[in-house]
């Protein structure tokens, strides 16, 4: 993890991806690439964007540092402070809440031993509550790094966390067996496989 003192620089791999983003925009409009570049910086930097990274991007895109800072502070998906290896974003908006988000939250707190907005001592997990992630049909759900884990029960939540702690990879998506957001009670239409 980058400490605030160290200089930030894209690795050759990330630099190439950054250049691909910049190339999408006409000459002199490279500032348009600020959002994907911030995302790349966040990925390379272990899940958060340091001031150095913002300054680096500002220089790369020839824009004022404050303009990058404005963008980075506006969007909630850019983390401006260090986070754990796994960023657990627990949805607490009404549909998830009605479907048991509170239970998931207490399991997380219990399993991880931290409150919301905190990081475990081993640096593995950061737990935060977020507003709607747009997966209400599969409520309740959490997002861990880039993956959605949906249709969760408290037990499944606990299992996912312990798998991650053991270094295993839980499979993302609905945890109750249904395919994406197909009806929970089984298919009701197109039962012939869509042949007609």
């Amino acid at each position: 993890m980058t400490t605030p003192e160290t200089k930030f620089k894209f690795t050759p791999d990330y630099l190439e991806r950054a250049k691909a983003h910049i190339a999408k925009y006409p000459d002199g409009r490279q500032a348009s690439a600020v959002m994907p570049l911030l995302d790349l910086a966040q990925r390379q930097n272990g899940g958060w964007i340091s001031r150095e990274a913002m300054a680096y991007i500002a220089e790369m895109l020839e824009m004022a540092e404050i303009r990058v800072y404005e963008v980075a502070t506006f969007y909630t998906m850019y983390n401006l402070e260090p986070v754990g290896k796994y960023l657990v974003q627990l949805c607490r908006t009404t549909p998830c809440w009605l479907r048991g988000a509170n239970d998931l939250l207490s399991v997380c707190k219990e399993e991880l031993g931290v409150g919301t907005g905190e990081t475990t001592e081993d640096g593995l997990f950061t737990l935060i509550e977020v507003e709607c992630l747009g997966a209400c049909v599969n409520a309740p759900m959490v997002q861990i790094n880039d993956d959605y884990f949906e249709d969760l029960t408290a037990a499944q939540m606990r299992e996912i966390l312990s798998m991650l702690r053991r270094g295993e990879k839980p499979s993302p998506g609905p945890q109750n067996g249904r395919q994406s957001s197909a009806p929970g009670t089984g298919m009701t239409t197109l039962l012939d496989g869509g042949a007609g």
Binding site: R51, M54, M63, A64, E65, I66, R67, Y69, E70, T73, F74
Partner: protein
Amino acid sequence: MPKLTIDGVEVEVADGSTVLQACEDAGAEVPRFCYHDRLSIAGNCRMCLVEMEKSPKPIASCAMPAGEGMVIHTNTPEVKKAREGVMEFLLINHPLDCPICDQGGECDLQDQSMAYGRHFTRFNEHKRAVKDKDVGPLVETIMTRCIHCTRCIRFADEIAGVEEFGAVFRGEHMEIGTYVEKAVSSELSGNMIDLCPVGALTSKPYAFTARSWELRKTESVDAHDAVGSNIRIDGRGGEVMRIVPRLHEDVNEEWISDKSRFAYDGLRKRRLDRCYVRRNGKLEEASWQQAFDAVSKALSGLRGDQIAAIAGDLADCESMTALKDLMTGLGSANIDCRQDGAKLGGSRCGYLFNSTIAGIEESDAMLIVGADPRWEAPLVNARIRKRWRQGGLKVGFIGAHRDLTYPVNNLGVGPKTLGQVAAGEHDFTSVLERSERPMLILGPGAVARTDGAGVLSAARTIAEKYTMVREDWNGFNILHRAASRVGGLDLGFVPGAAGRDVSGILASAESGAVKFVWLLGADEIDMMPLSKTFTVYQGHHGDAGAAAADVVLPGAAYTEKNATYVNLEGRVQRAYRAIYPPGDAREDWTILRAFSDEVARTLPYDTLDSLRGRMVEIAPTFSGVDKIAPAVWDNFGEPGEMSGEAFAGSVENFYLTDVIARASDTMAKCSSQFVARNQKKTGTNG
């Protein structure tokens, strides 16, 4: 040219106008916070809502382009209700601290809440509090009061050219701030205080010192640089409490530089408030009569050519006229107003900013030579930036380059490049050739040197070669940085026949050929050669000049006298007395008039009016106040060798250029924060 009907009045407005501007044309007042006619449109405060027929809801008039046939109502109950709603939201998080707010009494929010506010609040939840930001020694921030109009952000971006302010976080958490708490490094930052419609940005030096309604307001002009910015001096009792800009579209628009605005605390410090006479090597207090006696005694028996006078950068035209006439009466031709040794004078077109400041906006190509407009004349620089933002301006630059807030083409550093452009051997010449209204700006760094006349002549060659001077356009410009300079040159405060200029005076003072020197506020010269001469210092601050003087005559600063200054365009402007000079100090021309009696060379004017009549006699341009008489293209400059030495900037430290600024604590703070820190960086640090 769309035609609109506003409150039943039909108006025709220019293409591209907004509904708000149309309303103003029609005489309808529209309240606003975020809209400012010199900044881009933001449309985020919503206070300017008006009703437009056929629109289902009120429109934000500042952001709505005026269209043909629009019917607008600004005074219906619907409009009032809509604005009341906006006002209620604006006040939700605004603290009710008007009694302890410096903006109180001149606050847009306060004023408009009288018209649109409720007398109580329906908001029972917690108000938010925002941490104050440290943006330097000039601007105080009380961010809880901020209503997020973003005027300061737009000002910094657009006018000042320092992208350092921004709106960070969002929604309820939005804050105005800088990236990593840093001071706003602009010499125009004080203008944000005027722009801020609430008390979020206020003046730090002025904080809690006065209420706006207690101040006596005097409209005057600034003397810290040669721009001649129009200012209003707000005084209380015998003190200047603050200085704010006054609108003058052709000069400073509505901005002033931080030095013009904040150096006023220097007016209270290190003042010369009584006469001093040097006895046994020490300056001792004296009466006017004793001081005059000492001076007349020193003058007696001296021939005219043993006497000299130098006028400083803050000298007003009245006192220079009186001093010139006195020197002529004493038979001396050794007078000079060009402390920096600039090789300017003679034909008027050869030392004016002929294009005028407003004329910059018509130019399409510019060659800046040996000038640092950002520090020498910040408002000229702001005007160039304004022109650059309109697009299509190409700027070539010869000299020591620094960030001017707009991109420039670095052509070279010295006379060699200038010679190449004059000879048509440089790439940039194609830009000048294609340009319709090319401009050349020659700064003090180019003419205040021994080969200055040669540089001036080369610049003239360029001006003629690229047809910069035509009937309808004069693109030849000299950038001055001293308020007294153009006035002094207009008055002919330059060496007469067989007279010596500043360097000549100093050299002869050292050799003993000049035995008596009268310094009229001249502090920025080398005082060492004057140790053998009898030196009179007439001025208002105890600085280098007073320290070297044998007799000190206390004069008045620019805020303390009715005086005339001519700005770099040749615009004659009047400064007015806002407060009285301290102690025994007197208006400068009256000192000279009184002294002329002592030596029986009585000056023929007893009133300011008759003195001004004398000025018109010397230079007819003094008859037209605030007018510009275009100068006739005439001979100036002498073709000569130019050295290879690079053009240097004339201002080492923007915040400490004159005696008032050097006495100011505020300027000292700015200097250590903005200048000293940067200079350290360029030194030996790794």
